[in-house]
Amino acid sequence: MNPVKLLSFVLVCVLAANTYSMETKFPLPDVKNAQRIIALSPHSVELLFALGVGDRIVGTTEFADYPKKANDIERIGGYHGFQTERIVELKPDLIVAWEGGNRTEDLNLMEKLDLPVYRSETKRLRQIADEIEALGILTGTEEKAQKLIHDFHADLDSLKKSHEGKQKISFFYQLWSAPIRTISTGSWINEMLEICGGQNIITDPDVDYPQISFENVLLNNPMAIIIPANHGHDNGKLSGLNWDEWPEIPAVKNKHIYRINGDILHRFSLRVVEATQTLCKTFDGIRQASIQQKGA
């Protein structure tokens, strides 16, 4: 699996997810203890594995690569759409769809064919718990689900508590370089950075993933620049901007430009906890450096 493909798929879907309204809630299909599951997003595959029912997945998208075992699952489509005929052939008793991330026409067609579709719709960081709860009910693993949900909230709460009152770190999040696109304070990715005491320099209330001008970054003097990358490899595609030319920016001057695994940052999976921990550690390092700088 090409890591660039993977990340970009998630990016596109994150952007797509944004276009749906918050209010729509889709009912759960009448399924208990599903045994043949088709999961149409990388994050639902991760969540099903976390619930201990990963071996029940019979089909998934070309981007689901975590945990490693997920790579062995049959692929039934991806970014360009799904092979509905193959889905019917696999006789699933549950399809975990991704509202906003999957093509609506594909999902409508599956429903028309009387396939049991659960449309998961996650918009905020903490809503990951809602999807775990729903998947717990649908796969008969409610107990495990409740434990995961409890740990998820507890981990995030403790991170939040330990970073309250700490010095705010202003940051720029480089989602895309051509054109320059970032996350705004309203996006769910921003919630993770906020937990760690991060202060986004882009505060567009209307758009979650605004396109901005390079001058915006120059004028707002971010202390940190965060670039989502793939598995630590940077192949140049995602970092088209040459920050080194602009030492006027504090983040550049103090070498606080960080590449963080985009897969854990951009997926609605439990690994967002890991992502938040990494971000918090990063920001703590910056705080340390700024204290040392002042001392010197």
């Binding site: 660039v4 990016l11 895309w176 051509a178 054109p179 001008s213 088209g240 030319e245 006027e248």
Partner: protein, 345 residues
Amino acid sequence: MSNSLLKKWPLFLLIMLAVASPLFALVLGVANISLSDVLNIFCAQVSDSCEANRLKERIVLELRLPRIILAFLTGAGLALAGRVLQTVTRNPLADPYLFGISSGAMFGAVIVISLTGFSVATQGVFSNWAQLGLTGGAFIGSAFSVLLVISMAGRSVQIERMVLAGVATSFMFSAATSLVLYASDPQAASSLIFWTLGSFSRASWDTLAIPFVVLILCFILFSGFSRQLTALLAGDENARSLGVEVQKLRISMLLLTSLLTAILVANTGGIGFVGLMIPHIVRRLYVNYSRHLMWVTILFGGVFMVWVDVLSRSLIKGHELPIGVITAAFGSVFFLLVMRRKNWS
């Protein structure tokens, strides 16, 4: 004397616009920089008596100025290419798009981007190589389409056949480009689409040299051949009787325009309609100045494109609209209005 100078006021107006428009464009942007700031920054370059804010200076000189110059060069170059093509083929519809030059260049560039994985925004150490590869790919694509069009034109180079072959070539390359886009991964496709719609945001001093030199070179050559080109307008037979080597002239002019277009496409992406529209408007507005048409076309195209770039940056707050979308949208409406009012024949 003063009377004849007065009569030339449309020329002076254009020159004044060509000076004032870039100045105005320099003031416009996200960062708050006033005209006096800009003048101060320029003053600081030549004299020690002026002092400019360092960050503002860098924004104006390294971000905005190269961008405006690239916009000017692009507008000027595409308009010039369109004018020469219209003359060479005696076809009022001719422009770099009609002969597949643009779509050939676009296909070449898109192939280079998707094969090498070079980000279209790459700057720094690799920028020169990436830019060279991109330009090379664009030129090979456009030269290939020109040769294809010429080879289809028949031994006597019939213009009708050339136009038809150009349309077919154009569609062929567009289809190939679409296929590459479809096969690319979403992130690359998104960047590629943004690129094919045209943008000046990648402009930097390093990348301005080639377009500048090629534009000047083409201008000198086109001007040198302006008598022969005018003779072509009277028809191939007449031109031949005046001693013009029609075939050679036509083919070399086509290759030159494809070089010019390829360089511009490689630097800015796909920007349509300018090559078609500007020469027509210039011919209408400056009907009495046929001797000056070549440089008037260049200035007009440049000024036009600087304003298109201003619109692209300011129409929607925080967003940059693709240049090609604005030239096509505004250009076509403006063109229709001018045609209506002037009772085009």
